[in-house]
């Protein structure tokens, strides 16, 4: 389980913050401890990530959540279900943000919006991609 959590963390730590020239790891938005992995069954895992946005700005928190969704969907090699939440107490509208981030239809539609997609790509693309 710890191995799986590290695999997950390895994917998300290099995601760049939408505003600052740093990675989410550098800014402590995500830490190793923020990844929880539970076994769901046959080689399938439930991954729960709790991230702490640096500023309480709603749209940036949602954008980070979107980046996490997209990169994990693309890069995780094992079968999984994903839940992404803002760390409790870090935001005034955390319920609203959590609901949006975890609505796959909203995530899919957001990624079809060219300017949003561009912002996400800039945050998740590895230099050697």
């Amino acid at each position: 389980m710890e191995e799986k959590a590290l695999e997950v963390y390895d994917v998300i730590r290099t995601i760049r913050d939408p505003e600052k020239p740093n990675t989410l790891e550098e800014l402590d938005v995500v830490t190793e401890k923020c990844v929880e992995v539970q076994e769901l069954g046959d080689e399938e895992y439930l991954i729960i990530i709790r991230f702490s946005p640096t500023v309480p700005h709603c749209s940036l928190a949602t954008l980070i959540g979107l980046c996490l969704q997209v990169k994990l969907q693309r890069c995780l090699p094992f079968k999984h279900k994903l839940e992404i939440y803002i760390t409790e107490g870090t935001h005034s509208t955390e319920e609203d943000i959590n609901k949006q981030i975890n609505d796959k239809e909203r995530v899919a539609a957001a990624m079809e919006n060219p300017s949003l997609r561009e912002m996400v790509e800039q945050c998740v693309t590895e230099p050697d991609d």
Binding site: K79, K99, D103, E105, A108, A109, E112
Partner: protein, 331 residues
């Protein structure tokens, strides 16, 4: 009383994309599928297998979320994240784009045809429900825009026999609409779900409504009647199916022929529920008659009963596949 779901065929319908919706034609001989690849595909049976008859690839600029057949089977409507609804006309073995309905401010989530064939409803992330009228010359006109929800509207469905519409929303509520003086308005709001309501289905007689939600439950609602049998326009939740689904329930479908209730779940499973016939219909009890835990390799987004062949069920998934199943209530 235990039933079973037998897999008949699995089809890779939308390569490298989600398959969001599948809909049987009224004759039950064609299946329309749509998805994240922005295309609609029409499938027909050739011998024992389902083959692609037609691909409608140029109708939309973004994901096609829902497709709906007109009651006569000659038209197909498609709702897209590109904020439009396209109406297609069937000509022999092909479909041509008849018209594009514009007006919603952003993604259209669902489109549905009224049983009369004269009305269409659409709903969107812009929080509104639009009702459109069709005339004999294939002209479409928006007759009402209703803003009863406070968030993204996920699904709309017409009553099987009355001119009544229901909508499901990200605001956790269900709204019921009726026409009053040429204008459509919300007549009842059904509260109870603890998260987004994703889909709705009326029972064959139109006496009850099933709703499914991100809160992992299915609720059955019944319209309250006054002493004289007339409606008091409020709906009560008469049954909640909880503890059966592991994740968000994306779709629910009530079979017109058998009364069986099917669900599509984010835990990759498909389930069929049947009503216990010995129980008072005012307080129904449903039991799980069949369950395929890994019906697809990913989330199941849609479930649809064939309107002519009892027990035939179509489902589709995030992995771009659809599957055809045969349900037997006693196995």
């Amino acid at each position: 009383m235990k039933g079973a779901l037998e897999l008949l065929q699995r089809v890779s319908a939308h390569p490298d994309a989600r398959c969001w919706y599948v809909a049987w034609s009224p004759s039950g001989t064609l299946l329309a599928s749509c998805g994240g690849d922005r295309a609609i595909r029409i499938w027909g049976k050739e011998g024992d297998s389902w083959e692609c008859k037609c691909v409608l690839a140029d109708g939309h600029q973004r994901t096609v979320r829902t497709v709906a057949w007109s009651p006569c089977g000659k038209y197909l409507a498609s709702a897209s994240f590109d904020a439009t609804t396209c109406i297609w006309k069937k000509t022999n073995d092909d479909f041509e784009s008849l018209t594009v309905l514009e007006g919603h401010e952003n993604e259209v989530k669902c489109v549905t045809w009224a049983p009369s064939g004269n009305l269409l409803a659409t709903c969107s992330r812009d929080k509104s429900v639009w009702i459109w009228e069709v005339d004999e010359e294939d002209e479409y006109e928006c007759v009402s825009v209703v803003n009863s929800h406070t968030q993204d509207v996920k699904h709309v469905v017409w009553h099987p026999t009355q001119e009544l519409l229901a909508s499901a929303s990200y605001d956790n509520k269900v709204c019921i609409y009726k026409e009053e003086d040429d204008d459509w308005e919300c007549r009842a709001t059904l509260e109870g779900h603890e998260s987004t309501v994703w889909s709705l289905a009326f029972d064959p007689e139109g006496q009850r409504l099933a709703s499914c939600s991100d809160d992992r439950t299915v609720k059955i609602w019944k319209e309250s009647t006054l002493g004289d049998g007339s409606s008091d326009e409020s709906w009560k939740c008469v049954c909640t199916l909880s503890g059966f689904h592991g994740r968000t329930i994306y779709d629910v479908a009530w079979c017109r022929l058998t009364g069986a209730l099917a669900t599509a779940c984010g835990d990759d499973g498909v389930r069929v529920f049947k009503e216990d016939p010995t129980v008072d219909p005012e307080q129904p009890v449903f039991f799980m008659s069949a369950h395929v835990p890994k019906a697809h390799g990913q989330d199941v987004n849609c479930v649809s009963w064939n309107p002519k062949e009892a027990g035939l069920l179509a489902t589709c998934s995030d992995n771009g596949e659809f599957a055809i199943w045969k349900y037997n209530s006693d196995s």
